[in-house]
């Protein structure tokens, strides 16, 4: 039998090695899954992970999908470090798309270069507003933020459905549930010809850098880390748990809101009923896979983005169900969380207890 022996201190090697180990285990499990689905595993892995990015357009798509994941995950990681479990980033993303999209539609046919910056600000406000509700309910009424933030995701999605089927529906849109297209002032243009990658990617990288500054160079970041690792110590030091909850929810909500705007003003180009294939939820995986660290989050987001475009590509080239992507993502998180035990524990053979 094996047993777990606590390490005197967490292993730094394992902190870096476990994500790699988890990816390898996921790929092995993926081979088995493809075999069960009746596809040639190697061909499927190639179609899934290599073929989609062997061209400029594909590389651009990697950045397109990674952008909302980085924005959401950077915010979530700050909360998770403080033990604030915002899992409603998807709803905050939708609210950001609504607030920012509203500014864009309002200035349709007019406006100037200031429209897009204003849309970004509005989207951050929208997302932060949607994050503020669980923060208020948590700090004022002690209501669990996991459940309230998640319930509000459904509410935000229904509100978006109402808007695109009702007041915002394009009258010339053949009754499709979608708004008019944004005009040039309100749309994010691609940075390179032949791709769809807009400057939102730069915004995401800046957000990751700002997240790193906050966590490693500011007093608020220090408070967050202490509150997460030793809540009692944080209380004793006089750090306000309520203030940290507010900070975490507002930051993660605002960033998720900007991710939503980047979708509607960027790749989509109008407000539609489905603005995200679940980026807000997948960002939870990204945050953990990236070890709640901004650099790790960027790498993890690129990897998960690959699983998204790989799923689309494998669906077209090999007729594999697109849900394979989320199975991959779920397995990756399982393996990662399972491997984390190696950071704090050593696996040792269980010795027969000697007498005495």
């Amino acid at each position: 039998m094996l047993r777990l022996e606590a390490r005197p201190q967490p292993s730094r090697t394992m902190v870096l090695a476990t994500p790699v180990l988890a990816v390898v285990l996921t790929l092995i499990a993926g081979v088995i899954m493809f075999a069960i689905l009746g596809a040639d595993p190697l061909e499927a892995l190639y179609a899934f992970f290599i073929a989609p990015i062997d061209n400029l357009y594909g590389l651009g798509e990697l950045g397109v999908k990674a952008t909302p994941l980085v924005l959401c995950a950077v915010g979530l990681s700050i909360g998770f470090r403080a033990n604030v479990w915002n899992i409603g980033a998807e709803g905050q993303l939708v609210m950001g798309a609504i607030f920012g999209g509203w500014i864009g539609l309002f200035h349709n046919g007019g406006g100037g270069i200031w429209v897009l910056p204003l849309m970004f600000i509005a989207s951050a406000i929208g997302g932060a507003f949607w994050g503020a509700i669980p923060a208020f309910l948590k700090t004022r009424f002690n209501a669990n933020e996991i459940l309230t933030s998640l319930m509000l995701t459904y509410v935000a999605q229904l509100f978006l459905n109402y808007l695109v089927r009702g007041p915002w529906r394009n009258p010339q849109g053949f009754n499709f549930p979608q708004s008019k297209s944004f005009d040039d002032f309100a749309a994010i243009a691609p940075m390179f010809d032949g791709t769809r990658l807009g400057f939102g990617f730069i915004v995401a990288l800046v957000a990751a850098f700002a997240g790193w500054l906050l966590m490693s160079r500011s007093f608020l970041g220090f408070q967050i880390k202490v509150a997460g690792l030793a809540p009692a110590a944080a209380g004793y030091a006089g750090f306000s748990a309520k203030r940290l909850t507010w900070a975490a929810m507002l930051i993660s909500g605002g960033l998720a809101g900007m991710a939503g705007l980047n979708e509607v003003a960027g790749p989509i180009g109008q407000v539609v009923a489905v603005v995200s294939p679940g980026y807000g939820f997948t960002a939870i995986i990204v945050a953990f896979l990236g070890r709640l660290h901004p650099i790790g989050i960027i790498i993890a987001a690129l990897l998960i983005a690959l699983s998204y475009i790989g799923g689309d590509a494998a669906q077209m080239s090999m007729n594999l169900p697109v849900a394979v992507s989320s199975v991959f993502q779920g397995m990756l998180l399982f393996f990662l969380l399972g491997c984390e035990v190696l950071i704090r524990y050593r696996i040792r053979p269980r010795l027969r207890a000697a007498t005495g």
């Binding site: 309230t148 229904l158 969380l337």
Partner: protein
Amino acid sequence: MHHDTVTAILLSTVLASTPMLFAALGELVTEKSGVLNLGVEGMMLIGAVIGFVVTAATGSAILGVILAAVAGALASGIFGVLTLLLLANQVACGLALTIFGIGLSALIGKPFIGKPLSALPQLHISGLSDIPVIGPLIFGQDALVYISILMAIAVHLFLNRTRQGLIVRAVGESHDAAHALGYPVVGIRFLAVMFGGAMSGIGGSYLSLAYTPLWSEGMTAGRGWIALACVTFSTWRSARVVLGAYLFGFFTIAQLHAQALNVPIPPEFLSMAPYLATVLVLVIISRDATRIRMHAPASLGRVFHGG
């Protein structure tokens, strides 16, 4: 209102509440043992798809429900291995289980989207079932509705009237004390987690076999999370779990009937009702922090390492 409408609302409330009741009862036992499994939504989806696929393939709904329970238990087993044996964070693992369940159920159910299935047969006792309103309500349900009520009673008796139930609660209150007394903490928790998974699986299969007899991706639509809210709402007491599940079921149905009656509110806003009601109820229940702390299992969510 005509009594047919009342009957219809009450009947569909039972239909809408039963999936949440199964899942919430399972999660109650899991949480009583000190484990917080946030994967209910994922396990319900796996149960829903397995129940549907097996029933469609074999024609036996009984087999469908049984295998849905097995699938739910197996899915929760993954969670159990990670959190109980590998000491991983319960919140993160529960979220992982939900994400995994959404993907896996979509993968399995892909060929079955849009295929119809006949709903579970309903009891009919001539004479009794024909009594207005209460007849169909009490004597005209399908078997799983009766089983869900029996399970509620069984869970209540198990937790409060049996030695084994006392041990489960002891493990949930203080795993160190239970360990010191020689109880196998990890084994007991593992069984409680698997029970929770099986019940979520049955609850999910009720959705795809009785509530809307068809499979569609993500068909639980947050019911797993509402089941979790039911447990908090109940302050970990089994009788109140029933009340909570039926309350949320009623909100779901009331808004559907309001949509059918053409009330001058957009349907999207009416559909928000169950989710907003959940938030509201959580706020009301949680407001008194001391009461939550007194009733919640003291070791809930804490990692146990027995050495």
